[in-house]
Each structure stands twice: as C-alpha cells, then as structure tokens.
Symmetry: C2
Subunit: 365 residues, 2 copies
C-alpha cells in the first residue's frame, strides 16, 4: 500500500462536493462558488429499473436531457474559475480536481441507500457520479500528461475508489474516460468520470460468472491470470510490457482498436497495487494512449474502462485491469453498433486482433 | 400455417444465390449477371472466437474492411440492373429480393458445418448473411410500403427463417433492419439483413436463461407472456394494439426510443404465426414505423431486431417478438454508447419509458 493523496475539500453553490488534489509541493486554494445555482431538487434523483428479459438493471435519469452540450471553449465548465463565477471549478488553478456531476445518472439527491432484494423491479438510482479533470489545461489530453501528472490521476482514481466503496448503497466503482466527439463527448476539456453503481454491472456479472466456472473446472485457478499467462506465452497480441504490467489486444477483440492492460500480479482493484506497480501502470497506460494517437492523422476517440472488484463482496476471482476500446476502423470510418451488436450483443469486427497488435507494436516511441 | 411464397432462384456471377419473391400476379424475370466478379476466394471465410472473459462468441471478418461504402445513388448495388451489369440484382424490376451478402460476416465459403464443443476457442465463421431488399424503389422506406408489400417482406422473412434453419451449422436466424446514416448504414436503398449464426447470440442466451429461472420459480409460467400480460394490464406504456398484436415501450427501456411488438399468442418464430396473425403483425409494424417517422423533422434512424426461437433446440420458453430501438434522443442529439454502456453494459437513459410511450401514442395516424 502506498499513501493516497489527501484532497482539499470544498463545496459548490448547490451543495455538491468538490475535491482538489495538488501535485507534491503545490497548494490548492479554492475560492467561493458564487454562481446562483440553488440547491439540487429531489427530482434530480434517478430511478433504476430491472429488465426481467435480460436480468440487467437500467438507470433512467430524466433530468439529464438538459445537460451541458458542447459549450464554447470560453465557457468550459471544467476550466478554472478564478472569481468562482464561470465554471464548475472555483479556483485560480488546479492540478487534478473531482466533483459531483451536476447532472448525475446516480446520486443520493432523493434517497440514501437502496436494497435490491430479488423480485424488486424498480428503486431509486442511489449512487455517485463524479467528474475528474485530468488537468487544468483545456487543450491537452491524457496521452500528453507528464508521468507525474498521470500518476496523480491514477492516485486520485485510487482514492475515489476507496471513498466511493465506503458510500451507502454503492456496489461497484467504475472509473472511465470517454474521449472524442465521435463517441458523443460534449466537453473537450480532458476529463473522466467515476460512477458508483448500486448494482453489479452486467459485464462484471458475466465476467465473474465465467471466472467462477473456470475456477470450478480448473482446481480453483484464476481465469484472468490464465488468460494473461497465455497471452504472454503466445506473444503475437502483446502491444507493450514493462516491469509490472502487460498490454495486449485480446484474442476475441470486439472493437477495431482494443487493448487490455493487466498488472502482472493479480489484484482486485487499484487500492491493492503497490507504489511501484502504480508507477508501472501509469507508464504503460500513457504508452498505449500515445500509440493510439499515432494511428491516424487525428487523435483516436476511445473509451477507457477500469475493471475493479471487491473481494469483500465475494469477488475474489476478479482481476483488476483496464480495457481500452475505439470505434475508429480507418482514418475515415467508424464502427457502429448496429443490428447484430445492439440487437443481439453479437459483435462482428473486420480487424484481426493479431494485425491490430502488430500495428500498435510498431507505434511505440 | 399459411403458404410461404415460392422464390424464383438464380445465381450471381460469383456463384452467390439470389432469390426473387414476386407479389401475387407478378412474375420475376432475372437476367444473367454479367459482371466480372470471379468466384469467391476461400479467404472470404471469417472466423469466430470465444471470449473466455464473457463467454461470448465474436465474429472476425477481415475481408469486410473493403465492403461497399456509401456509393452514389446511380451506382446503388440494390437497385434493379436490367442489363445485369450494374448492381447485385440482375433484373428489370423486382418486388422483394434476397441474395447472399458479397461481404459476409458468416458464410460457407471455406468450411461447411461447425461443431462448437466446450473448450473450443476458435472456429470457421460458418453461417449465412443475406441482404433483403424491401422494394426496388431506391427512395422509399419500410414505413412507406403498402400493406401488401410489407406483408410480402414479412412472408420472405418467414421463408428465409425456415430455409436458414435448415442450413448446416446455423444455430440461430436473425432478421433485422438498420436504417439511417446515424447508425452507420452505408446503403440508403431500403433493405434489411438476415444472419444465420453458428452460435446462440449473447442476448438470446441471456433471455433464455431469464426465462428458465422464471419458469422454475413460477410453476413453469412463461416470462414473456407474463411480461406482456402485465404491460397490457398497466396500459401506460402501450403504444398500439390490433387484433393479434401489442406494441409497447418496455418498462426498462435502454434506448431513447424503444418499442417491442409481441403477438398476443406465444409462438417461437414467424413460422408458427397464422395468416391472420401475420397480417396483424405487418399492420402494427407499419403503424409503429410510421409513428417513428413522425417524431422528428427527419426520418428516425432505427434498428429493428426480430427475436426468434427454435423449440427443436430446447428454446421452448422463447417468445417471438420484434424489438425496435433508436439512438435519436432529440431532434438534434443522438445517444452514444460510451463508458457505462460499452465498458460495463450498464445502460443509462434520459427518457422515461412512460413519457416515450405517451409521445408515440399520440403520433398514430
């Protein structure tokens, strides 16, 4: 275990929490948020509904229809607001900052905890949705961060994972980044999101089910450790390696560009990683993102998804890793999720994983 | 059981099958396809790979990278080709035509049948991908078809379902339509697709698993019949009804626009529907599509997915229905599947199903 950074806490005009995480040697000095926001209405509470057809929960957040949509750069809500009147971040500057989403899909706005016994079809969408700004520089990107800055982001993900896991009603913590207008990102300022779901997500449920079957059939062996060992052994889909981590294109990649990053030691989440492992993870993550941006004349749109597990809730078989995926299938074309994918969850890709890996491999710096 | 239409069979220049389905009283007169296509290479055979993480199969069709992409209207490959030299349909005209996709995700190009015993991680992508042209009129849409023409399409879906179920290696038949550039449709001519998968798709697997659990817990009752009865009882999400069918927005809708159409009697697939039920299905399907196109100034992009089951393979609990979904969330905005959906399969929607149903309800003709 390494030290988690201690945030400077403040509050936005409508009562939302905001947390400033300074780099070593820097000091965060929030100012007062003077915007006339008023308190958040209870109607901001979303709802979750159980789909009996599939066994999945769906979140319905009707108040999100009015969320901020592609503001001009001089009205960016994620840039610093020195007078506390022009953005979500009331401060002259910041290194990394986290705050509750103004239009949350999940929140504690109208309800505290949720219990979801079998047979319940609907419940308040209790949980947490946070925005994390990776830098105060509006025009940079994660790939362009210094190692020190990127490591701070990783440390903040780690701190927030621990914090959200401690909140009432939160079952799973998901740190992710959506990057690029092509996938609907409405704010270009480099940022990610952190969700605290009140349920185990469908993907995590499937993956834990597979891991359980594998362990039952293989004397308790770990599915993901086995998968990683086989990828290292095969070699043909490896994109990058460093002291503690391995990045590869998965054997059954669904997306035109897809890379999974695993620490070489099985841990369940960021909290369990050592200081040296966190440094390795930061380095390989930056390395992969840099390769992404060298693929085409324009920056690659991508989704980054951190898969974290909690051994205290029977998820011992989970293996922390990051899944990166992009819809770009050529310089001018995107992959769309159409009938087969959206209707039947059956992915069809036109890129061979080995070719994708070979391409990414030669794009190293 | 009603009569299925008998197609006039012909062959394209590279050996692919093409089937003409005339309206009653019309005659199909294919001409020779004189394009210099040459036989299809065995390299057109795709591969399917098993994702051990999720338990899902993924199809990898590398030859599809070069598929036809937004041709000019005068080079439409789906318009009639009177001299047999200018499109995929060598005939002066046609009513409904079906042919094997030139760039198939699944085919018998290099392999015949596939067996997929547990533990197999990769296999040839055996199966069938067909294109179905709903009309020879390049500028029309499914919603604008006459009842008679739309019924012919339904009958052809039915005929192809039976035909594909009889092909070696086909485990599931999926008729669907992708409509709209917004979801990546590269040919604007009104058409759909029919896939014969060599595996049960992930969505169907989930739905049958849920149906099995429900039956076990409720004295053998059918999950989907129960769901339909509850929707009819609640009423608030019903969009349209007619003699034999019901259309409603599902309780846990994932998409900004989503409508499910069920026949009131449980059947497993189109083959089991009576003549009167097929007429009802055609009418309510046209009705829903017409409502879709009245929602916004421009035609609604949508995916239509026919869920069919085969009782001969242990799918007795399946209930044939059509799921329609759209990514359009306002006149100017689309829903994108970003981190939560693509990374965790956890859908977040900002439209309340009851409001969506009320809106669609008043858009009837």
């Amino acid at each position: 275990m390494t030290d988690t950074p201690t945030p400077v806490r403040s509050e936005l005009a409508d009562g939302r929490e905001i947390l400033f995480f300074p780099l070593p040697g820097n000091v965060s000095r929030p100012v007062q948020d003077v915007r006339p926001l008023g308190p958040r209405p209870q109607s901001a509470q979303s709802e979750i509904r159980y789909d009996v057809q599939t066994g999945d929960w769906v979140a319905i957040a009707a108040h999100r229809q009015d969320r901020t949509y592609k503001p001009p750069a001089d009205q960016c809500p994620l840039c610093p607001s020195p007078q506390g009147d022009s953005s979500e971040v009331p401060a002259a500057d910041y290194d990394v900052v986290v705050f509750e989403n103004r239009f949350p899909s999940l929140s504690h706005a109208g309800a505290d905890a949720t219990t979801l016994p079998a047979g319940v079809l609907s419940a308040p969408g209790v949980g947490r949705c946070e925005v994390i700004c990776f830098s105060s520089d509006h025009t940079t990107s994660f790939a362009e961060l210094s190692h020190q800055q990127a490591r701070l982001v990783v440390d903040v993900w780690r701190e927030r994972t621990e914090a959200l896991l401690g909140m009432s009603g939160v079952e799973q913590v998901f740190c992710f980044e959506n990057r690029g207008e092509e996938i609907g990102v409405t704010l270009s300022h480099p940022h990610g999101q952190i969700y605290g779901y009140p349920y185990l997500t469908p993907r995590t449920t499937s993956m834990l089910r597979q891991a359980r079957s594998f362990a039952d059939e293989h004397d308790g062996a770990n599915l993901f450790a086995d998968l990683l060992a086989r990828e290292i052994d095969a070699g043909v889909r490896i994109v990058a390696t460093n002291e503690h981590c391995t990045a590869f294109v998965p054997f059954a990649a669904r997306w035109p560009v897809e890379v999974h990053i695993y620490p070489n030691r099985q841990v369940h989440n960021l909290i369990e990683l050592s200081d040296a492992e966190l440094d390795s993870l930061t380095a390989i993550y930056l390395d992969v993102l840099e390769r992404f941006d060298r693929m085409y004349p324009t920056a690659l749109p991508y989704i980054s998804a951190l898969h974290q597990y909690r051994p205290d809730r029977g998820q011992e078989l989970g293996y922390f890793h990051i899944e990166l995926m992009s819809v770009r299938r050529s310089a001018t074309k995107l992959k769309f999720l159409a009938g087969s994918e959206s209707g039947m969850d059956a992915f069809v890709t036109d890129v061979t994983p080995e070719k994708m890996a070979a391409r990414l491999k030669v794009l190293g710096s």
